[in-house]
Amino acid sequence: MKNRRFLSDLLVYIFLAVAGFFCLFPLLMALMNSFKTNGELLTNVMSFPKSLKFDNYIRTFNKMHYLRSLGNNVLLVGSSVTLIILFSSLAGWKLCRTKTGLSKIIFSVFVLSMIIPFSSIMIPLYKVVLVLKIKNSILGLSAVYAGLGVSMAVFLYHGFVKSIPYELEEAAAIDGSSGLHAFFSVVLPLLKPITATICITNVLWIWNDFLLPLIVISDSKKYTLLLSTNTLFGQYNNDWTAILSALILAAIPVIIFYAFFQKRILEGIADGALRG
C-alpha cells in the first residue's frame, strides 16, 4: 500500500514537472539566447551564453522606444479601466436597484450583445474611429475599449449589487446623503471585491490586446509595447538575438505585475470566470 502511494506520488510529480518545463520552455530559451551574439546563437541554441552582455537589450531598448511604448500602454490601460469601472458601476448598480421595464430592457441590451465577436464589428468600428477622428489617439482608443468592455462589467456589477443589502443605502438616505454622493461614499466601497475582479480581468485583456491597436494606431509614436515588438520583428527579419531580447523586454512588465499580485490575479480570474 505504502509503495503504491509512493509510486503514484512520483508519477504525479513527473507529470507536473514535465508540464511545468513545457510552460517555461519558450521563456527560458528566449532568455538564454537573448544574451548571445548572432554567431553563438547560430552554432548552438542550447548552450548557455558565454558572457552576460546586454548589447542586444540596449540595441532593442532604443529601437523599440521602450519607455515611450511602455508609457503608452500604461496610459491606455489606466484610462480604459478607469472608464470601464466608473461607467459600469454606476450603470450596473442603478439598473439593479431600479425595477422597471426600462431597466430590464437596458440590462438585456447590454447582456445580449456579449456574443458579438470582435471580428464582426471590426470594420464598421474602424469607420466610427475615422469619423470621430480618434485614429492614433490613445485616449480615443480607451473610449473604444470602454465601449467594448462595459457590457461584461455592467453584468458583473449588476449581479454583485443583488447580493448586498439595500438597507445600507436606505440608512445613507436617512442620513441625508443621496444620489451620486451616496453612491461614492456608501455603495462603491461595498463593491470593492467585484471592482477588483473587473479591474484585473480588464487590465490583462487590454494590456495584451493586439488586433484593435493594430487597426487603430498607425503612428509609431503612439505604439503600444506589442505594436513596437511586432514592427521590430518585421525589421529584424532573422536577427533572433535582437528579436528575443525585445520579446523579453516586452514580457518583463507583465511578469513583474504577476510576481507582485499573483494571488489577487488568480483569485480575480477564477471569480470573474465563475460569475461570467
Binding site: 510552460c23 542550447m46 450603470a91 437596458i106 493586439f210 470566470a273
Partner: protein
C-alpha cells in the same frame, strides 16, 4: 429618469463603439465601400453572393472549426488533468498553480514569436544533435504540421486559465463525499468519474463555452506564427476578414459582409449551445 442619468455614460460608449458598428455593418455590407474611393454605392446583396462563392473564406471557416474542435478537447483535458494533479498536492499546490498560469499572463503575440523561435531553430537543433528525428519537420511551412504548432502554442497560452476555473470548482466538492466514496472502496478513477466530475459539471460547461468563444476569434497566434500561410492554408476567419479589409484589397464593404456571415454562424452555434445546456440542466 434617474435611471437614465446613471446608465447614460455606459450606454453612450457602448452604443457608439459596439451597438452602432454591429448595426451599421448591415448597411456597409450592401455597399462597395473601400479604402481607395471616397464615395461608395449600394450594390445590394452582391457581396453576400460573392461570399458564398468565396473558396478561401469557407476554407478559413472550416479551418477555424477544426481549430475550435481541437482546442476544446486538448485544452480541457489538459486543464482538468492539471487541476486534479495539483489539487492532490498539499504543499506544492500554490507553486504549480502560479507556474502553470504564467503563460496566460503573456500576450500571445510575444508567446507566438517565442514559439516561432522554438519551431524554426530549437527543434531543428534537437533533431540534428540529439537524434530526435521526428522533430525534423517543416513546422511553419507545412500546413499539416503548422496546425499542430498552432494548437501547441494556443494551448500553452490558455490551459492555465481553464485550470484555475477547474481548481476553483474542485475545491467546492465536499471532502465528506470523497471520504464516503473511499469507505465504499472506490478507486481514484471511480472517485473522479462518479463523484467529482458530476459535481463540477457546471465549470465544465463554463470552460467549454469559453474555449469555443475565444477559439472562434483566434487571431494573434496565427498572425505571429504563420501569418495564415503557407498560402492561405492556416487562415482563421478573423485573419481572413482582417486581410480582406486592411491588407491588399482594402475592400471594407465586402469584408463587412463576410463578418456578418461570421456573426450568423456564431449566433447559430450559441443557440445550439444554450439549448444543449438547458436540456442538460433539466436532466440534473
Amino acid at each position: 429618469m434617474n435611471l437614465l442619468i446613471y446608465a447614460t455614460p455606459a450606454l453612450i460608449v457602448y452604443i457608439i463603439f459596439k451597438l452602432y458598428p454591429a448595426f451599421s455593418g448591415v448597411f456597409y455590407a450592401l455597399t462597395d465601400w473601400n479604402g481607395i474611393n471616397k464615395t461608395y454605392e449600394i450594390v445590394g446583396i452582391a457581396n453576400f453572393l460573392e461570399v458564398f462563392k468565396d473558396k478561401y473564406f469557407w476554407q478559413s471557416v472550416l479551418f477555424t472549426m477544426k481549430y475550435v474542435a481541437a482546442m476544446i478537447v486538448v485544452c480541457n483535458v489538459m486543464a482538468l488533468t492539471l487541476a486534479i494533479a495539483i489539487e492532490s498536492r498539499r504543499k506544492t499546490k500554490g507553486f504549480f498553480r502560479t507556474l502553470f498560469y504564467m503563460p496566460n499572463m503573456i500576450s500571445m503575440v510575444i508567446g507566438g514569436y517565442m514559439w516561432m523561435f522554438i519551431f524554426t531553430k530549437v527543434l531543428y537543433y534537437m533533431a540534428d544533435n540529439w537524434g530526435l528525428k521526428f522533430l525534423d519537420q517543416s513546422w511553419i511551412g507545412n500546413p499539416k504540421y503548422s496546425f499542430i504548432a498552432i494548437i501547441i502554442v494556443s494551448a500553452w497560452g490558455s490551459v492555465g486559465y481553464l485550470m484555475i476555473i477547474y481548481m476553483a470548482a474542485i475545491q467546492g466538492v465536499p471532502g465528506s463525499l470523497i471520504e464516503t466514496a473511499e469507505l465504499y472502496g472506490a478507486n481514484s478513477w471511480q472517485k473522479f468519474w462518479n463523484v467529482t466530475l458530476p459535481l463540477i459539471s457546471h465549470s465544465l460547461t463554463i470552460c467549454i463555452f469559453w474555449t469555443l468563444n475565444s477559439a472562434f476569434q483566434v487571431f494573434d497566434v496565427i498572425y505571429t506564427l504563420t501569418g495564415g500561410g503557407p498560402g492561405r492554408a492556416t487562415q482563421s476567419v478573423a485573419i481572413n476578414i482582417y486581410e480582406e479589409a486592411f491588407k491588399g484589397n482594402i475592400r471594407y464593404g465586402y469584408a463587412t459582409s463576410k463578418s456578418l456571415v461570421l456573426l450568423v454562424i456564431v449566433i447559430i452555434i450559441t443557440m445550439i449551445q444554450l439549448k444543449l445546456m438547458k436540456e442538460r440542466e433539466q436532466e440534473l
